[in-house]
């Protein structure tokens, strides 16, 4: 049935030659698992486009609704958490796929003549993907989104001469707010997709014009070739399934809840960028004073310029790694620096003691029960009952506090502290907070 329909259409549209061109592209040296990264990247990009479109069904890009709509997708829409999870983890996966794709091309010397243009377009595609990451990060409008974008925009501000203008241009005004989120949204879902689709088509067009590079080993390349279909297509499909499985599994099992709603007045929030920006985040910590601005704009500019110029600077026609020691050594050095910085950054992040959420609840109880009507804590409150600023120094015993809150007079005879009706959880939260009140 399907084949008869195809025949019917083919008789009219003459699809056979097109099919031949698309599928019978010869691959020198035959199909290989080395060539799957480009397809994996394209697949993940498609997954991002698809899940992104579906997220747009409920998302509203405005400072007063964005957070609520993402929360709605996450918590109320059937499968919403999964769709959002796919988009979130898919974003990370596409960055990894691009990294692996570039490494393979770099290692195999596939960027060399006559494929310089394919490499140049690829580097621009990488820049666009980073643009997707940057603009998409703001959209949920939670604390992380707000403050990380604030930092990102300020980095752009360090560009000499036009920095101030760029900052205003990105924000759409003086502050990060309503105009920023709507322009980031438009860039994320309309401008960048339009540009990248063109870029991807160009990348593939060049591939078809110059043909795949094949193995760096000339003997293997000359040994023969096989067509793209069916074996390379099969390998690509297997990898897509594996990638899809991993992303789905992550979306399914690792929750990615929103942080609190963006609060421009809360300067205590410490934003953390996505992992693929972490190495750079770490690097900025080592750029002292006057060097800071250079690190924030000069290094990225040099990095992208270097990538763009790579095929024109490295004109050694040899593709075999053994004859490209200098270039490969430089690449390896770069990787060591990036992964070194990434691992330092990850180690530092996880070394930060996570704040116990019960402390915030304990503090809220102090407010709720108006403890400071009698007690003073760090200069705030009345002086009728003992000052609690350093209460844990005097009373380090957890049980004493628990007992004291239940029945003050049982451990502190003559105390005029009233009994408060606290449940076990509240007792614990309040006690946890009391035990933090000490002179270090």
């Amino acid at each position: 049935m399907a084949s008869r329909l195809y025949q019917w259409i083919d008789q009219r549209l003459k699809l056979k030659p097109l099919e031949q061109t698309l599928l019978n592209e010869p691959i020198p040296g035959g199909a290989s698992w080395n060539y799957v990264f480009g397809s994996a990247t394209l697949f993940l990009f498609g997954l991002q486009a698809l899940t992104g479109m579906f997220l747009m069904i409920y998302y509203v890009p405005s400072t007063d609704h964005a957070y609520d709509t993402v929360q709605y997708i996450q918590q109320e829409v059937w499968g919403g958490w999964f769709v959002r999870g796919l988009h979130h983890w898919g974003a990370s996966a596409v960055m990894m796929a691009i990294g692996l794709h570039m490494l393979q091309v770099f290692f195999d010397g596939a960027y060399k003549r006559p494929r310089e243009l394919m490499w140049v377009v690829g580097v621009l595609l990488l820049a666009i993907m980073l643009g997707f990451g940057f603009t998409g990060y703001l959209l949920p409008w939670d604390q992380n989104a707000y403050w990380a974008t604030q930092v990102g925009i300020n980095m752009v501000g360090s560009v000499p001469l036009i920095g101030d203008f760029l900052v205003k241009f990105l924000r759409g005004g003086e502050t990060l707010g309503a105009l920023t989120i709507s322009r980031f949204f438009a860039i994320h879902v309309a401008f960048l997709p339009a540009i990248i689709v063109f870029g991807i088509m160009l990348h593939l067009f060049i591939l078809r014009r110059v043909g795949p590079a094949g193995p760096h080993d000339e003997a293997r390349a000359k040994a023969g070739s096989e067509t793209f279909y069916p074996r390379q297509v099969f390998m690509d499909a297997v990898v897509m399934l594996v990638v899809f499985g991993i992303v789905s599994l992550l979306a399914f099992s690792v929750e990615f809840p929103l942080a609190d709603r963006a609060d421009p007045s809360d300067h205590s929030f410490i934003p953390v960028p996505e992992w693929y920006f972490l190495f750079f985040y770490q690097l900025l910590k080592y750029a002292p004073g006057a060097w800071g601005p250079l690190a924030t704009w000069l290094l990225p500019t040099l990095f992208f310029t270097g990538l763009l110029l790579l095929p024109f600077v490295d004109r050694n026609p040899e593709r075999h790694p053994s004859s490209r020691r200098v270039v490969l050594g430089a690449g390896l050095g770069f990787l060591i620096i990036v992964f070194g910085l990434l691992s330092i950054s990850l180690r530092d992040l996880y070394a930060v003691p996570k704040r116990d959420p019960s402390l915030a609840r304990g503090m809220a109880l102090v407010e709720e029960y108006k403890c400071q009507t009698c007690h003073r804590i760090h200069g705030e409150g009345a002086n009728l009952a003992p000052d609690l600023s350093y209460v844990a120094d005097r009373r380090p015993d957890r049980n004493w506090h628990l007992q004291h809150f239940k029945d003050p007079q049982s451990v502190s005879p003559g105390s005029f502290m009233p009994k408060f009706a606290l449940n076990d959880k509240q007792l614990n939260d309040l006690t946890n907070y009391m035990l933090t009140l000490r002179s270090e």
Binding site: D68, V77, W78, G79, A223, S225, P230, F244
Partner: protein, 173 residues
């Protein structure tokens, strides 16, 4: 030419083709199910109906339609909105109260009570109903829609519902 470097043929070829098709369908289906559900789920959600007190029944005049405000908090996706709908209540001589939906069953306009002619009239397409909701003139396909109502402790309680317009039968939306 070495083995394995030529394009596969025969059963080997059909194995690759079939596996590729299988994998594509597998990915397609595992994406389609959550995505379709994601789009459709909110459309299948029923509005939860609440009994809302509109006032004391003894304040209603017998045999005279009275416009009452039905105030409700509507959960509209991710936002909650407070809306007020005006409904028509007619107290019968036996003390029971008939409550009419404010929407004309013809095409959904709001109709009014004409005190002089003692008729409900819809300004849009000229449907006319008597005080019992029976069609007296115009294109209306069915009588005015009544809303579920009950009286508890002298309070008139009403559930707001909407019905498809243009049908001879009353079908809830």
């Amino acid at each position: 030419m070495e083995d394995g470097l030529s394009t596969p043929v025969g059963t080997r070829r059909s194995f690759f083709v079939k596996t590729t098709l299988f994998i594509s369908s597998l990915i397609g289906i595992s994406l389609a199910i959550p995505l379709i559900g994601y789009v459709i789920a909110p459309t299948l959600q029923r509005r939860n109906k609440e009994w809302v007190a509109l006032g004391k029944t003894d304040e209603l005049p017998v045999g005279e339609p009275k416009a009452l405000d039905y105030a409700m908090t509507e959960k509209d996706g991710w936002q909650e909105s407070h809306t007020t709908k005006g409904v028509w209540a007619v107290k019968q001589p036996n003390g029971e109260v008939t409550v009419f939906s404010p929407i004309c069953p013809h095409l959904g306009c709001g109709y009014r009570w004409d005190q002089q002619d003692r008729l409900f009239k819809c300004p849009c397409h000229g449907s006319v109903y008597d005080i019992n909701g029976t069609v007296k003139a115009g294109p209306a396909p069915r009588p005015l829609d009544t809303l579920p109502s009950k009286i508890e402790n002298g309070d008139l309680l009403v559930q707001y519902e909407e019905f498809k317009s243009g049908l001879a039968k009353k079908v809830e939306l």
